[in-house]
């Protein structure tokens, strides 16, 4: 079961945990000295819980680095400022953004599409704020940005993801910066995944201030995903290829994520991902059952609850891990993510 990569990952992780804990206790001692709340770390269990929270928030920070860089390039043509990228070196090296060469990460030409441009502007600003917020919340425990690949090239992760999904390529590539519609599909690849990650992590947070903040970010990501999916749904009426692509990408995510059906918490489902194709949607009211076509802009379970993924399942997607063995890097994170959670789920 254990391959070398897994083993190495597990060992790395233990070293990091020790490092983090040391930092935590240092911080706790510092606080006690200035008379702040010393009850916080009154037990080993509390420190353990705090470590778990840090791992989860750092995992989220990795995803936010990715999303923020993508939207920042797509809207403005440049990436995040340097002062938002450094971090705790004990938890992984600071990496750069691989922008590519033939179809580099760049500003999308939104002319004629002011609506989508507004979406891009607002989402880019939110994602940047999330990076800044998580870094502040984590303080010295925040991980640095890992190496991120957001190239639109033939050998870039967007093309790899699209090709694996069976999406029709243009001259052998899927370039998310080539047009507003491609931008929407590129965003769709991330946004739903971000939502499932925050959803799946929320019940694992032990500190309720972090839970509160995570709920606020989860909601923001769900707004974004709703906006993106709603736009794809509407445009899909005249450009059916968008709907087809959304279903193909969804199926690919389902195939690679390694999700099993578990009651949880966090609850997960084996085949939960959904594209934006219209669905027959019967509605039972006091007047009986009304039949008709509904949109599918919210990926929910039968209870109307947006589905979630564990961090390890999310890693399979962002690593574009088509193998059954667990992965520690790949796809959008060619050197892996930083922090205590970096190995994907084995399938």
């Amino acid at each position: 079961m254990f391959d070398d990569a897994q083993l190495t990952g597990a060992l790395d992780r233990r070293v990091q945990r020790r490092e983090e804990r040391r930092e935590f206790f240092k911080a706790a001692i510092g606080a006690a000295a200035v008379g702040a709340s010393s009850v916080v770390f009154s037990s080993a269990a509390n420190a353990q819980a705090a470590n778990q929270d840090i791992d989860i928030l750092n995992f989220a920070l990795n995803l936010e680095y990715l999303e923020a860089q993508f939207y920042s390039y797509a809207f403005s043509g440049s990436g995040l400022p340097n002062n938002l990228l450094d971090g705790s070196t004990a938890q992984g090296a600071r990496g750069n953004v691989i922008v590519g060469t033939t179809n580099p990460a760049r500003a999308v030409n939104f002319s004629g599409e002011p609506l989508i441009q507004q979406y891009a502007r607002e989402i880019a600003a939110d994602e940047l704020a999330h990076v800044a917020f998580l870094r502040t919340a984590l303080s010295s425990a925040a991980v640095a940005q890992p190496t991120i690949n957001i190239a639109g090239d033939a050998d870039g992760p967007f093309t790899a993801a699209a090709a694996a999904a069976g999406v029709t390529l243009t001259n052998g590539v899927f370039d998310p910066y080539a047009s507003p519609d491609n931008f929407l599909l590129g965003a769709y690849i991330f946004e739903d995944v971000g939502v499932t990650a925050y959803k799946g992590s929320s019940s694992l947070l032990t500190n309720n201030a972090f839970l509160d903040a995570a709920a606020g970010i989860l909601a923001a990501e769900a707004f974004h995903a709703g906006i993106i999916r709603g736009a794809l749904y509407r445009r899909g009426q005249t450009i059916p290829a968008l709907v087809t692509a959304s279903e193909q990408i969804s199926n690919a995510r389902d195939a690679v994520d390694g999700t099993t059906t578990q009651p949880g918490p966090p609850q997960t489902y084996a085949d939960a991902d959904q594209g934006v194709a219209p669905l027959p949607t019967p509605l039972t009211t006091e007047r009986g059952t009304s039949t008709g076509t509904g949109a599918n802009f919210v990926p929910t379970d039968p209870n109307g609850i947006t589905f979630g993924r564990t961090a390890q399942q999310v890693l399979n997607i962002v690593y574009l891990n088509t193998a059954n063995a667990a992965a520690t890097l790949g796809g959008f994170f060619p050197a892996g993510v930083n922090g205590g959670i970096r190995t994907s789920a084995a399938k």
């Binding site: 702040a36 972090f210 736009a231």
Partner: protein
């Protein structure tokens, strides 16, 4: 600023909240014993100064606040949203078997003539399909919450779902339809005009904005107060679903604002947002959809976190009343069921 102290401040804040919760339980337990009074989520959830405003009520309720109280409060909001979307899509309210439970069971007050709750004659099939999906999700939420709460689930209260000029409440009072009352209070229409959310696509979206924005802020605000991990997991998923809905509603309003000959949609939404913000105290809990040149589709703070409301602030908004001690009004003319039902002072 010292990073470590920053991080500790966050932890410390959480510790304060835990203390506050304990204080809440003590205080509210005490209050119940002394006054036969009520338990109020917001009375203590955010306040570590043990100085609650306690309003005696004729019906003694259970203290302290529990996860069931929070879920039942959410259920009240889902009854409101579920009926709104059910009427808009299918012309009828939620089925009778979903209305029963503890407390006083009421009916939907539809009104008559212009403004009456009824199926919207959608001109844009896409908006009709969005509406159908949302209606199905809200019905699923009602069913899910009732199942989770089982015997503790509270009944649907009386709901004023009308835009008509005048409706009669079960108590015999003649009042305006709640949508008209809200629109008048916000200055969206004149004091003698009515607002009919079932009249057309735009009005339906504005009515949706009136309700769904509040639902998001309610789930967002209560996330950190839940203790059961399975409920946290489920509640995060419902929060996400509501946020997807709101993302589509707000972006649809924005798109209509761009294409409408006049830009009055932006002005109307701004007024509704301001009105809600006035109702629920000094904290910033509400944002409009921005202007034609500057979209604001996600209502966030400077950290990119979606804004939340306490249950008490939500009551102020749905009762359309900022006064302390309010037990009914607006969309709930006979009040809500459950232990969270009377307004207190907001911070």
């Amino acid at each position: 600023m010292n990073d470590k102290i920053d991080f500790l401040a966050t932890i410390e804040k959480a510790e304060h909240q835990r203390m506050a919760r304990r204080n809440f339980i003590r205080m509210c337990g005490g209050a119940a014993a002394m006054t036969g009074g009520l338990s109020l989520l917001s009375a203590c959830g955010d306040d570590d100064t043990p100085n609650p405003v306690v309003t005696p009520t004729p019906t003694p309720t259970q203290s302290p606040v529990t996860d069931a109280d929070i879920l039942n409060f959410a259920l009240q909001l889902e009854y409101l949203e579920g009926n709104y979307y059910s009427y808009a899509v299918a012309g009828g309210g939620i089925p009778a078997n979903l209305r029963t439970g503890a407390g006083f069971q009421g009916s939907v007050i539809t009104g008559s003539g212009e403004g009456a709750a009824r199926a919207v004659n959608f001109s844009d099939p896409i908006i009709a399909q969005y509406a159908r999906e949302i209606a199905a999700d809200e019905l699923a939420h009602i069913t899910f919450l009732r199942t989770q709460l089982a015997g503790a689930a509270v009944a649907q209260p009386s709901i004023n779902l009308s835009g008509s000029a005048a409706v009669v409440t079960p108590g015999g009072a003649t009042v305006p339809g709640a949508f008209t009352a809200a629109a008048r209070a916000a200055g969206v229409i004149g004091a003698a005009e009515i607002f009919d959310p079932f009249a057309n696509d735009i009005n339906f979206l504005i009515g949706s904005y009136l309700l769904t924005d509040v639902g998001v802020s309610a789930y967002r605000g209560s996330a950190r107060l839940l203790t059961n991990k399975a409920f946290i997991d489920a509640s995060a998923g419902i929060l996400a679903t509501e946020a997807y809905h709101d993302g589509v509603i707000r972006s649809s309003l924005y798109a209509l604002g761009l294409s409408a000959p006049a830009t009055s949609i932006f002005d109307k939404i701004q007024r509704i947002s301001d009105s809600r913000d006035t109702l629920d105290g000094a904290t910033d809990t509400d944002q409009s959809i921005g202007t034609a040149g500057n979209a604001n589709l996600v209502p966030t703070d400077s950290n990119g976190l979606v804004l939340g409301r306490t249950a008490n602030q939500v009551l102020n908004v749905v009762f359309l009343n900022a006064a302390v001690g309010t037990r009914s009004g607006g969309f709930f003319p006979e009040g809500v069921n459950g232990n969270i039902r009377t307004t207190i002072a907001n911070p």
